[in-house]
Symmetry: C2
Subunit: 483 residues, 2 copies
């Protein structure tokens, strides 16, 4: 954290700002192989908080964790035609192992449908084996030409859940459960509002019947597709022969779903909440929830002892926030330098202590969220107050996100207006579309905006026209430029 | 778990028994790529319990978690000559990415020294950056011709910790911390006694100054090298230029260590504690700590309600054991079938309930460890008793392991005796060795036994002779055949 020249302004150049924050807050670094990223301890600690929260949700839903090999023989990988067509261009392939050339090269998993369902075909034979819902926390490789830390890297971390069910109805319930669970994590932990819906034909996952994303709008007016839940229907079960005897002894193919949530979410977090001073982390994901910054001088020993006491008090309380309490007392750094550092790292609460606070048995307390002027708090009530403040910050961050989404969503029924918005402020556009691929492509060509989703509960309209071709359109779609 | 023919006897054919247990208890299955393994939910749940316990130890020692890419450019991988010589023959290599041939092929990590230390060389510049101790939980690839589930697979899961220190002394302390931490986990959680020491020159990690293993003796008299902590000295820091300014402004190379613990440990667990009925899991690692098995008949509803009540009582107690409580009530399976299943899965405590227990407000309780006849316990005191039983089982399992190690360790000063032991009972042999490679190789040729370790606190002797060549030998070494 050597560089304390001012960050690039977020509103002026969000891409440059993003890269500077990632680097200076030590969230990530580049790996030596093209497109790869090192997730540094501070960034990884955020991911650990995500994993911890989500793993509980997954397990309490009845799914179980397991681990499948990352090498998929090419012959197996090629068994579902849409799937291989979609993923083959972005795979990394192992051609040599143990010094010898392999007869059947190994694809490094870009997702685990094929390797898991190959096992499912052996494990499932009766309705008693269903539902089978297995989740993995692992690493994934999808070859990328242009890297953008967290948002687009050749290797990333994620969870992927894979359900096999006896009926279409049970299967759809798990698809919906997946995306609603992600919504809960995004809203409650990331403090990020977003939209759920279904993807257009061209934006679906390779091999899926339906893809449901959670799309988050970030500053600069672009969206991030932040996770997805897929209804795979019977595509894979038919390609791999995953069948079972139902209660009447009839052989049926299983219905399947898969749902994934990756380290990309941290990119969305940084982009959305950060400001010109650096990261702003929601308390539920912050690796450090409180930083205590003493003014160092003559009374060092006494002040540091006081800081330790405050730290102990806060840590003693049974808290719903997983982050630690840090004392920032490196006397090689000035007080101002240490303040800037805590701001860069997005620590939700900052407590400062000087001789006056020491004498009065108080502290000065301030919040990263709004740069509020510090207020004075009595030490006796500090630990409980801190918990209340954190709850309040978490809530206010979500409200900000909700308002941002609302303010930057526009309903448009004129393509000229559509183009103008995409050239200026950007944002999410609601517009009727005829669902023809041609129009979708032309809209993208002319505005860089793609179809993001159609809401789940949207009703079929009559009398509406496509924003591009003016032919009959039945549904309102959301469009935006995407990261 | 369809197959309930009797397991192969462990003492008669331990290899066959091992494979049957792994398969029938659903710990693992084979992956489609050569040498790979699927860790099934029941096996993975054991690993999750290990991770949870060890991650706490790692973090409380001041180390931090992070994630580094698994692809290491071959040019980087080749920078430390001993390291590449040791690992190159067992690597998997990605030669194609995104449809194109790569100019610099990518080695899939067989261990992360090179990729982590490349970053360390950028991150470390001053004594203030030290110590830097980073841990990773990830997947590793080492090409294997013959696979043996958990014990030898082409891909496995592990943690690898990597410390960089300012002084040789600090470094050695972390090396020792690593192996002692593993010892604690093995003793307290796996209930497995073992030996710590240093490896001979030929058995060291490629690129290390010293390798410290924890070696576990299992039934059949062979050992499993169950984890290692390495003193890397300045080999890597010199090869990669990881230097720092010390407090006096002098430039020095850092001292380094690495330590790893893998899913191989689960193989040691199965091999050591299992018996002819299947797995025997130590309570601290068991995914299910208690199984409640009702005798189903006329009073089904009442009995099942009673089982739920018992389950709730046990779960309510704040327990140091992470496993769950299961009710085994599938009425397609006979009572005996469900008993066998619980034994195969190694569940520590089995509670059976019939109409008599229901009437008397009691349960029958038995322990997997010793197949003890069930005793009767009152429901009112059951939850607290259960915790005590689990503590007791965990302790007794460790005592059994301790005794087994003691009983199968032999001090020998005659090579004929050495040979005879290795042909019959096998076990650990303590013998003086001159530390010449020639003798080590000949002993291996004639007995299949390798040098396992020299104890850390062993004193230099004079007047002793090498077991093989009769020349002067200063130290007592441990020999055994290894998995």
């Amino acid at each position: 954290m050597g560089d304390f020249t001012k960050l690039t302004s977020k509103t002026k150049n969000i891409s440059k700002w993003y890269l500077e924050v990632i680097d200076r807050a030590k969230l990530a670094d580049y790996g030596p192989a093209k497109g790869t990223m090192i997730i540094r301890p501070y960034g990884y600690a955020i991911w650990e908080n995500v994993v911890s929260a989500m793993d509980k949700e997954i397990k309490s839903s009845g799914a179980v964790n397991a681990y499948f090999p990352m090498f998929i023989p090419n012959s197996l990988f090629s068994k579902e035609k849409d799937h291989v067509a979609g993923f083959a261009p972005e795979t990394a392939v192992v051609t040599h192992g143990g010094g010898e050339e392999l007869a059947d090269p190994l694809v490094v998993r870009p997702t685990s449908e094929m390797i898991m369902y190959d096992a499912y075909s052996r494990w499932i034979s009766s309705w008693r084996d269903l539902p089978l819902v297995i989740n993995q926390w692992n690493n994934i490789v999808r070859w990328e030409k242009r890297t953008y830390p967290f948002l687009r890297t050749s290797e990333f971390l994620w969870q992927e859940g894979h359900g096999a069910h006896a009926t279409k109805k049970d299967n759809w319930e798990r698809v919906i459960w997946g995306i609603k669970m992600y919504e809960k994590i995004y809203k409650e932990f990331f403090a990020l509002d977003g939209l759920i819906g279904t993807k257009s034909e061209s934006e679906k996952f390779a091999g899926a019947q339906e893809t449901l994303p959670y799309e988050i709008l970030v500053e600069g007016g672009k969206v991030i597709q932040s996770c997805t839940s897929h209804d795979l229907g019977q595509n894979f079960s038919k390609a791999l022969g995953i069948s079972f005897q139902d209660k009447n002894g009839k052989t049926e193919y299983v219905w399947q779903n898969s749902w994934g949530f990756s380290t990309r979410s941290i990119g969305a977090l940084v982009m959305s909440h950060g400001d010109d001073k650096g990261l702003v982390l929601p308390p539920k994901l912050a690796p450090v929830k409180v930083v205590i910054i003493p003014i160092l001088g003559k009374k060092d020993t006494e002040i540091l002892k006081y800081c330790e006491k405050i730290k102990g008090n806060i840590e003693k309380l049974d808290s719903e926030f997983p982050g630690g309490v840090e004392i920032s007392s490196d006397n090689e750094k000035s007080f101002g330098h240490r303040i800037s550092e805590s701001e860069l790292r997005g620590i939700p609460i900052k407590i400062t202590v000087g001789t006056r606070e020491l004498q009065e048995n108080t502290v000065s307390i301030g919040f990263r969220l709004d740069g509020m002027k510090p207020t004075i708090a009595r030490v006796s009530e500090l630990s409980e107050k801190t918990e209340e403040y954190l709850v309040d910050i978490q809530e206010r961050m979500f409200i900000n996100s909700e308002e941002f989404l609302k303010e930057n969503t526009f309903e448009v029924n004129d393509f000229e207006k559509f183009k103008k918005i995409m050239k200026t402020t950007k944002g999410l556009i609601k517009a009727y579309w005829c669902e023809e691929k041609d129009c979708e492509e032309k809209i993208k060509e002319e505005t860089k905006a793609t179809t993001r989703l159609k809401k789940l509960d949207v009703k079929k309209e009559s009398g509406e026209k496509c924003i591009y071709c003016n032919k009959v359109a039945h549904y309102l779609w959301y469009f935006a430029q995407a990261y």
